[in-house]
Symmetry: C2
């Protein structure tokens, strides 16, 4: 890490958090609010600056004067090299090609580094969480979407443009359901919250999922969510149960492929749907790897839950700045 | 590169080649023969040493005394860190956990480094071939099997045990045909020569591929190969044509996933089946990436043929020794 405290911003689609983070990853001041995405980029920038100034002013003078930089975690896609959002679909319109790192650096008078939320989470888990000490690991978030990041030989695998790690957007089926990205049969279409909900709505529309339909009838038509599918599966609906089970199987097969292709020490799984599913998701993946992966990578890999909670996007500012600003590696 | 000439060994399942390779990748002496796998590990070691001594003795004294090391390319799986073959299925029985680098180093009096053939090919293409100048690329070989290697930030992505890159063993289907490795629906089961032949034999056995059956009837029962399937497809058999087309589609979808996950500058495709298929395989992949991959990695990536021929396993000894022995990077 940097040794110094840093400012951190976690810009999510619905919530915006700011914090001061010590070198050990502890958040010592925080301020949060809703992301005013519907009011446009300028309102989001203003809110970010306000929360960042609030936390900066909340710490003592010695801490304030030793702040080493600003680390920003944001929803993708984004360009970490130019510090700009590219076309984040979940914040609101008007955020295409929006400069984020530079105006925040100017407003706070600190060097600023921007990265995708999944990359920051991977760095945080590597520095302070479930992947501490690991040099080769994969972080996967299973939530509304499926994203991730790859750490290879102790460094984020960025690829040619710094946007590698879109683990949800690999095929698990040649003619499967369409993914939000437009491609058929991607992991995210089977195993993400949005994918499960989309498949469930299609089953309701096709008239072959009566229990799901009954639940959907109590909601607004498009409001059927993965949590409803999971609850309906637990209540005994075979269609809902099959959708949940196919989501687990697709995830498990994708993890087998990642283990064969990347030979990681760890697969760290975070995200709301992964938390809700627990062992049903991780156990399915562990059994598939045990049965199907190649001998050497299978013996090595462990599949574990992410260990950092809501502070992950703030804590990751420390290793992010260490890697990008001070080139000190992630440990 | 090392600046010095090096000795090189390319240990294939059927052929064994030795060479002296100059710093620019040119092979200036060579000796080759069949791999005597059926006579066991000692016979293979003896043959390797004989061919290596032949090429060493064929060069002038100045070259001989300046040899910088021995680079060994061999069929996997193998352990590059211990320099041992693990359980190569294609050479013959008795090769499990066979020390290769150490006895060859002793016999030749040179430091020796062992790597998987696909990794050596990737290093060679990066140093002298289609990927020259690229820092982030994927090498894929489409042949009897499908293998590969990943270069990230100018270095081979080895993973925790140095065995990463098994690109053929990722899912493209949740319930597809079984792969040689035992898992269902892997890329290799759809798109490799062995996979296509296996599916064709199953179609013949099921009685629903009359033209394929007629061709198979002129061969030994298990001798139907991917080349036969390709020829039968060209002759108008719809079953054979479907198998070839599904192989191309599965490959294309897998490449889309690799582009999204790894954001490479280049995907370099080698191997005998890829050469035979040509634009039918690569064009299908290019069109799929153009239509389906994420914007930023899609704009970046180019999908190209491997440019080095049969010498790739020898030429790669130069960057292999540079990376592993002299830690000088691959360029």
């Amino acid at each position: 890490m940097t040794g110094q405290p840093v400012l951190a911003l976690d810009l999510g689609a619905t919530r915006l958090r700011a914090g001061v983070v010590r070198a050990d990853g502890r958040v010592v001041a925080r301020s949060a609010g809703d992301t005013p995405g519907e009011r446009g980029p300028a309102a989001v920038l203003d809110a970010a600056i306000r929360h960042l100034r609030t936390v900066r002013d909340a710490v003592d003078g010695a801490t304030r004067s030793s702040l080493g930089g600003l680390g920003i975690s944001a929803v993708g896609p984004l360009d970490p090299r130019s510090g700009r959002l590219v076309e984040p679909p979940n914040i609101g319109p008007g955020f295409e090609d929006m400069a984020l790192a530079a105006p925040l650096a100017d407003a706070l008078g600190l060097p600023a580094v921007l990265e995708r939320d999944t990359v920051v989470a991977a760095l945080a888990e590597g520095a302070f969480g479930a992947a501490r000490g690991a040099r080769d690991f994969i972080y996967i978030t299973v939530s509304t979407g499926i994203g991730g990041a790859i750490v290879a030989a102790g460094r984020i695998l960025g690829g040619a443009d710094g946007v590698a790690g879109e683990i949800g957007h690999q095929p698990v089926s040649l003619d499967g359901p369409p993914c939000g990205c437009g491609a058929p049969g991607h992991l995210e279409a089977f195993s993400s919250g949005a994918g499960i909900a989309r498949r469930a709505r299609a089953a309701v529309a096709a008239g072959d999922a009566p229990l799901l339909a009954a639940r959907a009838a109590r909601l607004a038509p498009a409001a059927l969510q993965a949590a409803d599918v999971a609850a309906t599966a637990d209540a005994g609906d075979p269609i809902a149960a099959r959708l949940m089970e196919e989501g687990r199987t697709a995830f498990a097969h994708a993890v087998v492929g990642l283990v064969n292709v990347l030979n990681p020490e760890l697969v760290v799984v975070g995200g709301g749907l992964a938390r809700a599913e627990g062992e049903r998701l991780l156990g399915t993946a562990r059994r598939a790897v045990e049965e199907l992966a190649f001998t050497i990578p299978r013996r090595r890999v462990r599949i574990v839950e992410a260990s950092l909670g809501d502070d992950v996007g703030l804590a990751g500012a420390q290793p992010l700045l260490a890697e990008r600003l001070f080139a000190a590696g992630i440990r």
